[in-house]
């Protein structure tokens, strides 16, 4: 039984100056092959102008159990949104 190629996560930046976005994953023996495979698997229709690959094993993720502790505190802070502050109609450009 041969060794399975490691798993890589693929991030693609599209043409319009947006950030790299997770596209999916694939197996490859090394980083160079991961980029080549990512080109074939995830950019067959001009989806991107730049590719990042990173070993899946190197990604650290938050755990679902921490969801409340991490994200709940932001829920009560509605004043962080501009719509919290109503402006009079007479006041322009604000």
């Amino acid at each position: 039984m041969s060794k399975e190629w490691p798993l890589w996560e693929v991030f693609i930046r599209s043409q319009h100056g947006l950030a790299h976005k997770h596209a999916g994953s694939l197996h490859a023996p090394d980083a160079a092959m991961a980029i080549r495979n990512a080109r074939d698997v995830y950019t067959r229709r001009n989806e991107g102008v730049s590719i990042w690959v990173v070993r899946s094993a190197d990604i650290v993720a938050s755990s679902p159990g921490d969801r409340e502790a991490l994200f709940e505190p932001a829920q009560s802070k509605v004043y962080r949104h501009p719509t919290f502050f109503p402006m009079p109609d007479e006041v322009k450009h604000i």
Partner: protein
């Protein structure tokens, strides 16, 4: 449907009272259309059913390359050949997206492939039929990819996040497949009488197998109810089949071809086409391994895997050597 008769491992669907608190919370999230993600808690049956379904789907994409690959060297023009190769490459890509989605559920790629090769997991019955003429490539794009789209569009809303995201990507690409197939059929149907006969012959042979792709009638489909509660199946087999017939018959009419079903007629009262019975014995027989091409398909896949082993091993050896040199 690319995944047929997926076993959920349950005999009956649990109602809320019979569920554990964890199961209740899980079902409540699904009912609220919250996606399940890889690290979330999920019932073991849900996980195993999904692995089976996504895996069947992936294998179907991969094995589905074979009947089309049969015509790459004999495509009638360079343009057709380039288009066919692009389509086959897409199918390979679709298989890879789906294998990755299945792997997020804690199975390894090699195990999935071993399951296919050992016959432990099926692929869609449709790919066990031969492609005898060039018109079959048209019929596959039009009918088989058409049926696949019918099934895959609702699956973009399926409850498991990685599966739903893979479906979004696949659906974007699939419409090219169907159109290129229909365009082949249009050219043949508007061509010489002999070409038109070829197109009709392909429709005659692919019609019933395409209807079977959606799986057995709802009444005989034991696992549908559980899969629908989990939202890993969103529409019933019969519902999808009816939609497919309603959509496809007018397309056949436009081609001037005859759908091979003497009982096919528009039912104004129902607002749908009525169609004749399907030979389910043939379907079960093909699933059991006795279709025209079952043995050949698996033999070809296993050979490709075994012939490629030295390349995979050499690539690993090369990567390890480079890494060792870098570390030194």
């Amino acid at each position: 449907m690319y995944a047929q008769m997926v076993d959920t491992g349950v005999r009956s669907v649990k109602d809320a009272a019979a569920m554990t608190p964890e199961e209740q919370a899980f079902q409540a999230r699904i009912d609220a259309d919250v996606k399940v993600e890889p690290k979330d808690w999920m019932p073991e049956h849900y996980r195993r059913t999904l692995i089976r379904q996504i895996q069947q789907h992936a294998h179907s994409e991969i094995v589905g390359m074979l009947p089309e690959g049969n015509w790459v060297t004999r495509a009638p023009t360079l343009k057709r050949k380039a288009i066919l190769m692009a389509k086959i490459q897409d199918e390979g890509g679709h298989g890879l997206y789906l294998y990755s989605a299945a792997e997020t559920l804690g199975v390894s790629r090699d195990d999935l492939i071993a399951d296919l090769h050992a016959g432990r997991v099926k692929y869609s019955s449709i790919f066990n039929y031969p492609t005898l003429t060039w018109a079959d490539i048209g019929a596959i794009g039009w009918l088989v990819d058409g049926a696949a789209i019918m099934n895959q569009v609702p699956l973009q809303r399926t409850s498991y996040g990685p599966y739903a995201r893979a479906m979004v990507r696949i659906c974007k690409e699939e419409s090219f497949h169907q159109r290129q197939g229909y365009e082949i059929m249009m050219h043949l149907a508007q061509g010489t009488p002999e070409q038109k006969r070829m197109a009709q012959d392909a429709l005659d042979r692919w019609w019933q197998p395409s209807l079977m792709m959606f799986g057995p009638p709802d009444a005989d489909s034991v696992h549908s109810a559980q899969s629908m509660q989990w939202k890993i199946k969103l529409l019933s087999n019969d519902e999808l089949r009816q939609r497919f017939v309603d959509q496809t018959v007018p397309q056949a009419d436009y081609l001037g071809l005859t759908v091979p079903d003497p009982q096919l007629r528009w039912n104004a009262e129902r607002g749908h086409y009525d169609f004749g019975p399907i030979d389910w014995r043939e379907f079960y027989d093909v699933l059991k391994g006795n279709g025209p091409c079952n043995r050949d398909r698996i033999r070809t896949r296993v050979k490709a895997w075994e012939d490629g082993a030295w390349v995979r091993e050499a690539a690993v050896a090369h990567a390890e050597k480079r890494a060792a040199r870098k570390a030194a």
